[in-house]
Symmetry: D2
Subunit: 423 residues, 4 copies
């Protein structure tokens, strides 16, 4: 290959291809997980329903991680150019770290890199006023409080974001917030103090100018955490997923984010990085599931030989590897495009990975479960919980079908333009 070619460095994405600084952070994260988090895994899995116990373990890990400077790694240089708040990694660089976190539950929380706090912090960094930053961003960056995101509603199909029924109505110097939300992740945690709430300020505005985002303190009168929702049988404590009602909740007008009618715009901007994070954690889930499967099938004997010697097991291992490799490359391509050309240019890839990675992870995890037998569906291994989590990601932020439609429309649009260009 002719030297100097840009393509020269193609596909070198891997720890080796990273900048020295990113490489160092990456290896510190890997070491931290191995040394401090992995050993807790069995314990955490078996005490999944003991919310307090898990919270305490997380706090302990957080203080260790922070000491090592492994903190708020998620904030991209683009949102935080002065590296005032975070580590200033690129999307590609952080993506590779997300993969590592995905291999072990509670890792993201240990580094203060867990959803939905990450998305909320990024929104505050980009759009928050000085006061909003002081009040909400700083304690979030310090993991002193938690937050949730009030978007999905039980009454309408969340596949269509313009369906939202929650209302935000101005009255003097206040907004009156009303709405019925659910799948509000994080809200079950007693430390959750802030809800980034999406509602409509003006139903007569153009479709994507009706929505507004506003900061609602969780202890404001009228906010009621109704109940936790389970994912299959998991409650995902301590944060959980809550049904929350907002009844005539009054917040000062200064709590609005960016301005009335700009909620959809903020939501769109928030999606890109969040999807990269989710998708790379799913890659990590899948790598972990495959690793567990490899170990188990080497250890277990049936009909006189290790399961690893069976052709069907080998085919499943190989198929999993094929799917993981392909999905990872696509996620990294999306991250790379975001880094270099922005979220809008990366939109097709972001839609694609939203479908590709959860389905891939479900396939890989399911094969591992099958190889484990009964142990696979139990809490003795993280497989069942990872499966449940991956399954929700085929629904959260719009179901597969919506993203496939988006991809198809992009294809038709491109084809149409190509045909025009030929004429």
């Amino acid at each position: 290959m002719s030297s100097g070619s840009k393509a020269d460095a193609l596909m070198t994405v891997s720890v080796e291809g990273l900048s020295p600084r990113a490489k160092e952070i990456h290896s510190k994260v890997v070491a931290f997980i191995r040394q401090h988090i992995q050993p807790l895994e069995d314990d955490i899995l078996r005490k999944k329903s003991d919310s307090k116990y898990i919270s305490a373990k997380i706090k302990d890990l957080q203080s260790k991680a922070r000491q090592q400077g492994l903190w708020n790694l998620f904030l991209p240089l683009e949102s935080d150019p002065g590296m005032k708040f975070g580590a200033g990694l690129s999307n590609v660089e952080y993506a590779l770290i997300c993969e590592e976190m995905g291999k072990c539950p509670i890792s993201p929380a240990a580094f203060n890199c867990n959803a939905p706090d990450t998305g909320n912090m990024e929104v505050l960094v980009r759009y928050g006023t000085e006061e909003q930053k002081r009040t909400w961003l700083m304690p979030l960056l310090d993991a002193k409080i938690g937050s949730c995101f009030g978007m999905t509603e039980p009454a309408v199909a969340s596949s269509d974001a313009t369906n939202i029924q929650a209302s935000i109505r101005r009255e003097g110097n206040e907004y009156i917030v009303n709405g019925h939300k659910w799948w509000t992740s994080g809200a079950m945690d007693p430390d959750c103090k802030l809800c980034v709430f999406m509602g409509k300020t003006d139903s007569s505005a153009p479709r994507h100018k009706q929505q507004t985002m506003i900061l609602v303190p969780m202890d404001a009168p009228g906010v009621k955490v109704v109940r936790p929702l389970s994912v299959f049988g998991f409650l995902d404590e301590p944060g959980g997923h809550a049904e929350v009602t907002f009844t005539n909740v009054r917040v000062p007008v200064t709590n609005v984010l960016l301005g009335e009618g700009r909620g959809f715009e903020i939501a769109q901007g928030r999606l890109g990085p969040g999807r990269i994070h989710h998708c790379m954690r799913l890659i990590g889930n899948a790598e972990r599931a495959l690793e567990l499967m490899l170990q188990r099938t080497m250890d277990r004997v049936a009909f006189g030989k290790p399961l690893a010697a069976l052709g069907t097991i080998q085919a499943n291992v190989a198929q999993s590897r094929l799917e993981i490799e392909q999905a990872r490359l696509l996620v990294l391509k999306a991250a790379h495009k975001m880094d270099h050309y922005g979220n809008r240019v990366a939109a097709p890839e972001i839609a694609m990975i939203k479908v590709v990675t959860p389905n891939m992870a479900l396939n890989v995890i399911d094969r591992a479960i099958q190889a484990f037998g009964g142990a696979g569906v139990s809490n003795d291994f993280p497989l069942a919980a990872m499966f449940a989590g991956a399954r929700t990601l085929r629904l959260a932020d719009g179901p597969d079908e919506v993203h496939l439609r988006t991809v198809a429309r992009i294809e038709y649009g491109r084809h149409h333009r190509r045909q025009q260009a030929k004429l």
Copy 2:
């Protein structure tokens, strides 16, 4: 078609094709479920972890069902020719009733038709001594006690039944039972009083003569219910699935079933009907999931029209119908062969349905979950729990792979014989 032909009645299997008596029982079961069980569904789903509450509801339903004679319907005429203990239905007749029970959780328990009690009762009817019947069968038939089946072990691949490590050693008039079991369904219920335990009496005997089944009282010294196992986070209370250890448990020699070395034989006989029941309940699961999907997609609107108007939803509905119809016919064929030619002749079909129906049910339920969005993975609908249950049935009684291997060997054997016959 020429009248009088046996094929004349082919495929008329449906409520219409049943004998008047079976038809009557069937419609009473349907009515009972609609009137008494269905209305409790939401309540039960939301209180899934309140074991006592559910137990009380079940006891109440049981007394109503028994009053209507809807009781112990599972005992086949073949095992109980005098209809001394049960309803004397054929496998086909009961299969169609199982489908109905599969549509609604806790239905099987309401009619005292829930696993593993059904399998244990059938074993006692067929092989129990008078004393064993008096002591264990009668209270089980009366639902005064519950029972469990101690088969699967954490240390060995359950895909190979000859792997069993539990031991049953004779010492005078007693057997000393030692073993480590798990996935012992039913054992978490405080009413569970009996374990039908499988272990080896003679490791030097031929491969399928080493195992023995013995009746172990759950309150015998040395029996320890270690912990409940979860299935994708579900504990399936009140019976649950337990890890149980048996340490030098002493039981009188009269507790042995059928005789030393006959455990494998009993297990094989037990499998056929149990699989029909499981598979038809899975058909019921799938029908229910499809019904929920139809209703939901008619109710929900996205992008200006009901989800039911979307081509992808329609394709999913249709694909589900295709898969359900085919699977049901195969299960009914297996049941029919069992009724007319016995379990041995039906063995190929029994192996086939063990693979076909859980996979079919998982597909159908998963499509329904997808159409429901977040609600689908929660406990607001029975979909997530049905999915978890169906998933375990790809593992219980041997994973798919073992049954596919059985089917393949039968094919090769048949082909070989056909080729021989041509020579």
Copy 3:
């Protein structure tokens, strides 16, 4: 099972379950194929493009088959109650014979049971005038001539039958026929003398009353066989699939079938039995492919053991058996419903099998091809040709998508009615 129950004979469909007469015909067909057709297979496959050679072989087989009374077996008792023209078999009975024919190419032609002649003959039996029968039906029943069916058009999506653009315009005692048809199977054979032609007589009539069927002699001025179409690379000689243009073709008014505006009605009636035939031949295709796969994998050695010993091969064999069994039961159920309740009642099942069986056959044949290596895609075995044929059946008579939509609509309709009934 209680004796006397209708369900008693459930699923006994098999040669054993047939009436003595049907059983006799079935075994004669099996013997004839084994003795006379099977030995020609290799020869025919290698001379696939020598149309004359194949025609001669078919004629020879036809005279032998007719001598044995194995002739025009397809005509159902229902269409031909006096058994004036055919064998008077039920749909179920003939279906099982179709399966046998599907195992070996050119079998259907040998028994004068090949499409599209069968459909055309049945239409003439049911709706033909005495003159039409004398002129066209009798020579078709004698295999003295062949026929084709002019339905599909290159310019419009055949998934929507009302799209048809061909016109049939009355002028005095004649109709002027114009149209551009393709996939007109059979038309390449020089013996093809008749086209059953579908066109519109009245574009202003209600949607399903616009179409008319008319008998067009292939030697009428204005009929032009433009070219053969290939299926993958196969020309399916001698009959082939032709592109045919009809330019101002004049036929006497007496050539109309049943009456103006009744074309759609005839087409619908024609579909049911034809689909059973196609589907059961596909079952036969699949059984044959599986048989070939079993033999090949027992014979071939790789890495020191026969392919049959590999787990992936065994899994493929088993999966194929699972799919074949289920599909066959569904086709037989459809046939049974047609026999007992008519085509209209059987419509859901007829739509289902149209999707299920070609896809099943493609899966099974593809696995066999894979096990054969290069030989599998060549003409040394019938696999490649069977694959190509099965692939077209996902398109002919409407693509999968149309039938899935039909099935979905039936589901929604049923659900709606059930919900109404509950109120």
Copy 4:
């Protein structure tokens, strides 16, 4: 992203990321195909069986392409560092050009870049003596002659390369070559003058030292082209795929390549680049199929709207895009690793793409066929031929199963080493 990072150029692989020289060649190839080859497509497809006609068209295109310097583009810089014979492109650079060629049949031949000549030429460049180069390489580079590769044998499973039965026995200054080969692509062309023949010189040597490659002139006495083999009915003229027998063929000892016992080594080296080429052409096939599908579904109307408006069509389009993107990235990663670390390091990826791309292409093409209806399986569009070609690539050079096994073994090996490293 920190500037200067190697990962900076990550994933920029695309025409834009190429070196100016590669970019120029790429765009000239694209223009040439559009201007000179695309317009011939319909003609070529319809005259698929007219071998002479197609040969003439190719010769004509070749002379035009050569004038533009678009010639022998395949020879990698690595094999031909002085760019004496070829264009000196890297694997990544040529891969992107292969994709373009894959969009249109006969493109590879037009640029003298068609298999198996490319592989044979590369072998001669790397291992040929001066005399061998003069005699065979130069006319091949000039497209004055064609060549074939004698590897696969009808009698043994080609999945196991050590199975080869052909023999090469030395007798004085000659080797006596005997063997029965098939799927010898290119051998049907009267211009085919050379067979690169693989056989065993020493069956007692270690498993991978038994094989030798030797140059056999096709006009040597004892070489017999027995017959063409078809691929789903296609003969792939003019080169075709032949069954060829070699009976006591005598060639001078100087015709041996590299030396006795080095055949396996040469074959391995030959595989890497060839697979990249095949896989990228499959990507091109898939892109073309998708483009055809987009156009067709925009043009065709059913049930009152264009097919493109149907949800199922959109889902199929999107799914195809997802699969293509992922597969392409994996192939490019393999090419990149070959460029930078050599074939051995890239071996895992080379095994992966051998499974991934043909299956992906088959999925994509099959969806396009389905959208086209009958036209899709005919020769009016290149879909059916592309499907047939892609299907053989799941078998050629070892079936999927063999490569999946390789991938699984690599996984187990890596896992084992990782576990060791942790101890």
